[in-house]
Amino acid sequence: MRFVRTRKEGEMDRRSKPGLFARKPGSGFRISVVLIAILCAVSKLPATPQTTLRAPGKSYGVSTAPIKMEVYSDYQCPYCRAFYDQTLTQVIRYYVPSGKVYLVHHDFPMPMHKYSGEAARWANACAEVGQFEAAETALYDNQDAWGSDGDIAKYIAAAMPASDFKRVEAIMKQGAMPAPQAHFPSADPMTGIVHPCPVDPYIAQDIRLGYKISTPGTPAFVVTYKGHTFAPVYFAVSWPVLKQLFDTLLQQ
């Protein structure tokens, strides 16, 4: 389509300016093709070169599953806890082991929650040592307790073997508060982080991804089925309704 249009444009140019392509008939057309090829190549390049970080294992299931569900949540958000307790645990129990759903967690720590950034740090550090599931459960189960005093380490330590916790602690000790949080879409989540933790770039990347789907808050999720990505959902969905969607998709 683009090819034909350019050719027509070239012919129109030739008609309007007879001297322009008089020497070599068809050279204008060739130049146009080369220019279009260059433009196409340039347009495929990203505006700002961005490298995708290899996020630690904050997922459940196999990436080859027909349904991929990416959840954006904040460990201190009560709606996220309810969504995790009532819906996501059912997904993890019934749809992940059978290879039907690949559940991916993304951090979106909100600034109104004082310890949400730090909790995300703990979860990512635990993911680095392969203890993400234990950390996520511990964080949600004890949300009220650490949400009031900020003592997250106590619950993380209780959720995993001491050797793993030592490795997690070693990662956490490299950083200091504040931790990255989702302040504004335009603000870099790493701004103001004086002593970053090695896992902070993962959190920052998740926050950027959250803003890419324009999430106004948490929880939010995106479902992809065999390459078809549906509109983001910005609220907690009850299990029967989500189950119905999964069953409908899997019946196709």
Binding site: P216, G217, Y225, H228, T229, F230, A231, P232, V233, Y234, F235, V237, S238, W239, P240, V241, L242, Q244, L245, T248, L249, Q251, Q252
Partner: protein, 176 residues
């Protein structure tokens, strides 16, 4: 039995109004049923759209979980039936009354979600889009509801004037 110009104008306005209202209902039903994410038009993709719409209904947190899916599967087809009914002009008082009631329910659901601070999409014309705001409430309360009400009131007036017209020659005949 000649129609007065006022009656003619009323009839034309009523026809335009019900075509517009039917169009709104058809657009709403289409938005809910159309395949998502570039999927082809198949029974399975429509079922997927309805399952996604069910999530939208669930987001309002008004209905119990068991009632969400039946309503989500009923509503788009109800809108199509209502649109066809409005276009047919048959028993216009009933169809326009049903439309008015349906719009009232939609406004109530949206206002309730907005009042509770739920950042959800209204799902009126399909999934996606901005969370419910004043625009959605204004659109339904200032445009759709008055339109539906006007058709309902207009249909009552039209029926009355028809009755009067049909009664007048009979009276003349009996007195003569």
């Amino acid at each position: 039995m000649e129609q007065t110009s006022r009656q003619k104008t009323g009839k034309i306005l009523l026809t335009i109004g019900r075509i517009v209202l039917a169009g709104i209902f058809l657009a709403a039903a289409f938005g809910k049923l159309k395949p998502l994410a570039g999927m082809p038009w198949t029974v399975a993709s429509v079922k997927t759209s309805l399952a996604m719409f069910a999530m939208g209904v669930d987001s309002f947190q008004i209905l119990p979980a068991w009632a969400v899916s039946p309503l989500a599967h009923f509503l788009p087809f109800f809108e199509i039936v209502l649109a066809i009914w409005l276009l047919s002009g048959f028993a216009l008082r009933v169809s326009s009354l049903l439309s008015t009631l349906a719009i009232c329910v939609f406004i109530y659901a949206m206002f309730s979600a907005w009042h509770r601070g739920l950042a959800i999409n209204c799902g009126c014309f399909g999934q996606g889009g901005a969370p419910i705001g004043l625009w959605d409430l204004t659109r339904d309360a200032v445009l759709f509801l008055p339109l539906s009400l006007a058709i309902f009131i207009g249909s009552i007036f039209m029926r009355r004037s028809k009755r009067v017209e049909s009664a007048t020659p009979v009276a003349q005949h009996t007195t003569a």
